[in-house]
């Protein structure tokens, strides 16, 4: 029983935004056959994958991992020196991989991480061998095809020393899926002087709950760029990925583009722990509420000399309803740290809308153009090919979103 503050009444507790009842989802699904030829995915699946930045035709891709519900449907690398397989298979292949499992995400962190350990449904293993610099990204798609299921994946990404790896990971559902729960544990390792651009696009259905649990370890001279885009309706999403910068000069940058539709609840943050001298971090979030709730968190922890980190959150309220709550946190534990933040929550300036209307755009068109500009992905510093893909995914989402 809970006390409802708004109504001032005691009422029976029901699963609400922010709460997920794991037991209410099915842990079994219809078996999905392995597809040697990715083009054989249905046109509906294809459309939803494209909206999440995943291209079944693999144009300008170095390889693909596709999982539907609880089955690996495709896993293949097209580029020498890049490895793509399920974590289940990778654990069989590499004994040493045990050392990476649950190294930076704790099994006991919450009920979701436990779920991923005790009822696992694969997940992707992506690895760039030392010194390998791939031009095109690897793509990974975690797809929910059956209604009302739970999907628990455990992913591992390793960018070995001196490698340059781009990953675009899209999560999507089939169009007839109403409800579901996605739990994704991801452990990401950026080795010495390696560079990883990790771009995640979420394209969920309205009543899907999502609990990613992601952590990244960045070694000396390594760079981790994480981009997260969630523009489609989602019932509730809670994630607080963390990067630990453990080597001198390591860099992490998080960019998030969030759009909350009415009824959506997004609790999203990024945390960077700067443990090594001279490491740097930047966390940038853009949040738009069109009636839904967004809690935009950020946490920078400076634990070494000469670190520099900045946190920026800008929120835009589009309607009378909804919520944007920015919670930036800075924590310095030694001297000679440089931590800063700026946060702003505002509305679309009327003079901007009217300016575009004076050019003949309707109020709706003007508003959409301004929101699109606000969620400008060019700040993500993506490689050109990837930028194109992200733009395509965003415009596919936008057609429905705005």
């Amino acid at each position: 029983m809970v006390y409802n503050m708004r109504r001032g009444k005691i009422k029976k507790e029901i699963p609400k935004a922010g709460r997920v009842d794991i037991k209410s989802y099915k842990s079994t699904s219809e078996a999905k056959a392995y597809l040697k030829d990715l083009r054989k995915v249905s046109s509906d699946q294809k459309k939803n994958m494209l909206s999440a930045g995943v291209d079944p035709l693999q144009k300008a891709r170095s390889g693909t991992y596709l999982q539907m519900d609880h089955d690996v449907v495709h896993a293949d690398s097209l580029y020498p020196g890049l490895e793509v397989m399920s974590t289940t298979q990778a654990l069989k292949k590499y004994e040493w991989l045990d050392n990476y499992f649950w190294k930076i995400v704790s099994v006991g962190a919450d009920e979701f991480t436990k779920q991923a350990q005790f009822q696992p449904h694969h997940g992707y293993f992506l690895r760039a061998l030392p010194g390998v610099k791939a031009v095109y990204p690897l793509q990974a798609c975690l797809f929910i095809n059956d209604d009302n299921i739970i999907q628990n994946v455990h992913n591992i990404i390793i960018a070995e020393q001196g490698s340059d790896l781009q990953v675009i990971t899209g999560c999507a559902t089939a169009s007839d899926v109403q409800r579901g729960l996605h739990i994704g544990v991801s452990e990401i390792f950026v080795k010495k002087d390696a560079r990883l651009t990790f771009t995640m696009v979420h394209n969920w259905a309205e009543d899907v709950s999502v609990r990613p649990r992601t952590a990244t370890l960045v070694e000396e001279g390594g760079t981790f760029l994480s981009n997260y885009i969630c523009l489609k309706p989602v019932k509730n999403l809670q994630m607080y990925p963390k990067a630990e910068l453990v080597g001198r000069g390591a860099v992490a940058r998080y960019n998030s583009m969030l759009f909350a539709h009415p009824g959506s609840h997004l609790d999203v943050g990024s945390r960077v722990i700067l443990k090594a001298a001279g490491s740097r971090a930047e966390v940038v979030a853009r949040a738009v509420s069109a009636g839904g709730d967004i809690i935009a968190r950020g946490h920078l922890k400076g634990q070494a000399k000469g670190i520099k980190a900045h946190l920026e959150c800008r929120g835009l309220m589009v309607t009378e309803k909804g919520l944007i709550h920015a919670i930036p946190e800075l924590e310095g534990t030694v001297k000679e740290v440089d931590l800063s933040h700026e946060a702003a929550v505002g509305k679309i300036a009327r003079d901007e809308i009217e300016y575009l209307m004076a050019r003949g755009l309707t109020q709706g068109e003007a508003q959409a153009a301004i929101i699109r500009g606000f969620l400008d992905t060019s700040i993500m510093g993506l490689p050109a090919a990837l930028q194109k893909e992200v733009d395509r995914a965003i415009s596919a989402c936008e057609k429905e979103a705005f």
Binding site: E352, E354, Y355, L356, M357, A358, L361, A366, A369, D376
Partner: protein
């Protein structure tokens, strides 16, 4: 609020009838009467703060400018109740004096959205030295002259029947005033019926764009309508104060008789 006044007999493109406008509850324009006929250019002179910009903003329909009395008629129909975009689509275009910055929206995108099919963005932008600004956030960090040229590029792309030019020469260096004038003429001459309202408090732009008639706005009221050269000469000699007391009414009547 005045409703559709029906088709007018004459060929007036814009007719402003007894217009009173409030901004934040304060009256900024009082009983304005003006007419711009097809193919004509009317210059509106007046000191700073006289209400010139308010008139442009009210014609375009910006929400801060509330019509409390009177009527704005475009091509024979009252546009008082139309939204800004509806007015724009009827063929009214505005060159704002202080356009806002919109982060994340590139100049090119805006031009792309409003342009006519045969408009070549890169070529046209090149001709007005604005090519390098096409892929920058619109108006962000633009200098005075760059703002004017960006506004003109947008008007050129949209090709309005009636152009409202608010202080086209302010903040523009001498070298670029000629360019501004050239583009204004292109907009105004694109179709023979195109008309323009040119706002200025210096009249420098008249060296490049010739108005057919001028009027003087002081303290939110029209004080004088007449021959542009004569009016400008008088203002240069006596200042705007003189306009309030001069024989503006006579001039106005004379002008109206001439205009028939």
């Amino acid at each position: 609020m005045a409703k559709d006044s029906g088709k007018l007999k004459n060929s007036g493109m814009l007719k402003i009838e007894n217009l009173t406008v409030n901004v934040s509850g304060r009256e900024v324009l009082t009983g304005i009467n003006l007419e711009i006929k097809k193919g004509r250019r009317l210059a509106l002179l007046g000191p700073n703060g006289s209400g010139k910009t308010s008139l442009v903003m009210a014609i375009m329909g910006f929400s801060d400018y509330q019509i409390t009395q009177g009527n704005i008629v475009f091509n024979g129909k009252s546009i008082n109740d139309l939204t800004i975009d509806e007015r724009a689509r009827l063929g009214i275009g505005v060159m704002l004096q202080r356009p806002p910055t919109i982060k994340g929206i590139k100049t090119r995108q805006v031009v792309q959205l409003i342009k006519q099919d045969d408009f070549n963005i890169d070529k046209e932008a090149g001709e007005i030295n604005l090519k390098e600004f096409l892929d920058r956030d619109i108006n962000l960090g633009f200098s005075g002259g760059e703002l004017k040229r960006s506004e003109l590029l947008q008007l050129l792309a949209g090709s309005p029947q009636l152009g409202l030019f608010d202080e086209p020469e302010s903040g523009v260096d001498l070298e670029n005033i000629a360019l501004v004038g050239k583009v204004m003429n292109r907009i105004l001459n694109k179709n023979k019926d195109n008309a323009g309202l040119i706002i200025t408090h210096t009249g420098y732009i008249f060296d490049y764009v010739k108005p057919d008639e001028s009027c003087v706005l002081v303290g939110g009221r029209i004080h004088c309508v007449g021959d542009p050269k004569e009016i400008l000469k008088t203002i240069k000699k006596h200042g705007y104060k003189w306009c309030i007391t001069c024989e503006g009414e006579k001039l106005k009547k004379k002008f109206q008789r001439q205009a028939g």
